[in-house]
């Protein structure tokens, strides 16, 4: 019991640190693309500590306070269900048959909590951003779910550990090679999940400056940033497990998540932003069709 608790706590702290570090690296990379020097790699830690120590006197109702907690809760749930490193005790945090479906649902739990909280704040920009975000979410969730179902059906297992275990026979057995279309759909859906351009219509700094967290301040904002970092790592782990064969050692885990994290960063630093309807139209058609191709192939 104690070791279980320790392993959970270690997972969360480690994921938080890794997520914040990745965020700092991505800020540096974006700055280099702009021709700037960019902030320190540890800038996100400093920001979070500063925000945590600021006072807060803003109150917009109960849901407003709970939204960052929802986000963190969703992130931790996802984190604990995804295997970190194969064959180590610390990694089998929680795992049961059918957890793929639970993951698909719980990944959007945090977003829904944010939507309620931001809506409760009553700021018009937040409400606009929430409506955009939910519309976009329903678009990419479809392709993501179809792709996951295609992979799960193809491998005859509804357990994330099973999916990871099925990819251990060398690089060619990774799902990205066995299910190329579904993987392409998932990787396209990964961009709006990370709020990367060209799908960054939720935070859209040019029209609805920073969107949902407009009214959030100090401690709430620091929770929200931590939640985002945790959630980012959880998503990375899930994608590494589903598509890239999981990780057999800590080093390969770090390398794989780092490379996967850099993909939306690089894409978003060279692309402009879609308008809302362009983004949603693209997400309804292209990744969904790709995922459906593999689902039909698997069914036949």
């Amino acid at each position: 019991m104690l070791t279980n608790f320790t392993s959970i706590a270690l997972t969360i702290v480690g994921a938080l640190a890794w997520g914040l570090l990745l965020g700092g690296i991505s800020r540096s990379v974006t700055a280099r693309v702009h021709g700037r020097i960019g902030p320190r790699v540890t800038q996100n830690f400093i920001d979070i500590w500063k925000l945590f120590r600021k006072t807060s006197s803003i109150h917009h109702g109960g849901m407003f306070w709970m939204a960052p907690m929802f986000r963190i809760t969703g992130a931790i749930c996802v984190l604990l269900m995804v295997p970190l490193v194969i064959g180590q005790n610390i990694t089998c945090n929680m795992s049961f048959a059918g957890d793929v479906f639970l993951l698909i649902y719980i990944m959007f739990f945090g977003c829904l909590g944010m939507a309620l909280g931001a809506g409760n704040s009553g700021h018009p920009y937040a409400v606009i951003a929430v409506s955009r975000g939910l519309a976009q979410m329903s678009a990419y969730e479809l392709s993501f779910s179809i792709a996951v179902v295609a992979i799960a059906v193809g491998l005859h297992t509804f357990r994330v550990e099973g999916i990871v275990a099925a990819q251990q026979a060398g690089i060619t057995s990774w799902n990205i090679f066995r299910f190329p279309f579904a993987s392409a759909g998932m990787l396209i859906a990964f961009l709006p999940m990370q709020m990367a351009y060209p799908f960054g219509i939720v935070l859209a700094p040019q029209e609805i400056p920073i969107g949902p967290p407009t009214e959030y301040s100090s401690r709430m904002l620091s929770f929200m940033f931590s939640g985002r970092a945790l959630f980012g790592v959880a998503k990375l782990l899930l994608f590494v497990g589903l598509l890239f064969g999981g990780a057999s050692s800590w080093l390969s885990l770090l390398v794989k998540t780092f490379l996967l994290y850099m993909y939306p960063v690089v894409v978003s630093s060279v692309f402009p932003r879609f308008r809302t309807e362009q983004s949603i139209r693209f997400l309804w058609f292209v990744p969904t069709t790709l995922a459906l191709v593999d689902l039909v192939r698997v069914m036949l």
Binding site: R27, A31, H34, G35, R36, I37, G38, P39, R40, Q43, I46, D47, W49, K50, L51, R53, K54, T55, S56, S57, I58, H59, P205, P209, I210, P213, T214, E215, Y216, S217, S218, L221
Partner: protein
Amino acid sequence: MYCNQRPEKPGNKKEFLKKITNMARANSLWVTAYGTGCGAIELRPLYTSRFDMERFGIAMRPTPRQADVLIISGYLATKTLKRVIRVYEQIQDPKYIIALGSCTINGGMYFDSYNTLNVLDKYLPVDVYVMGCMPRPEAVIDGFSLLMQKIKDGRAQGWKHYKENLDYYRENQKKIITDWDLPDYNW
């Protein structure tokens, strides 16, 4: 809780890990994106590749809720002062003000204008003045580094001063804003 109640006076409470917190505050200054005068144009180069402020951890925030620093960039009309007060009081503590340009120090070239206030620190607590008309981006960076040093030493206490002497500031503000239609406490 807010808008109808006087803010509590912040005493000299003992803070947990005060030195580390002050270091964090100094190295992560978030600026409210609000320009009051001509200096707002001079701030733009700071965020682009030549003078890159982000390497000091300074970032723009579009909302006062998340910001630490308010930059009074240049001359301040009485009409703008009303909005500035509102914005300043919505920033969460601790908060700092940087005033740019000679207009905020003694009126500058608008010293005899009917609509531009001359001495800013009668109305708002200023932590750092940057002189010049307008200050070049290098001067603004210098002002920021001075503010960082003050925060590290724990001397940037303008927000405490404002809360403790609220009556004095309110009296001055109400003297020039003749149609005062703000709530008395905007926290």
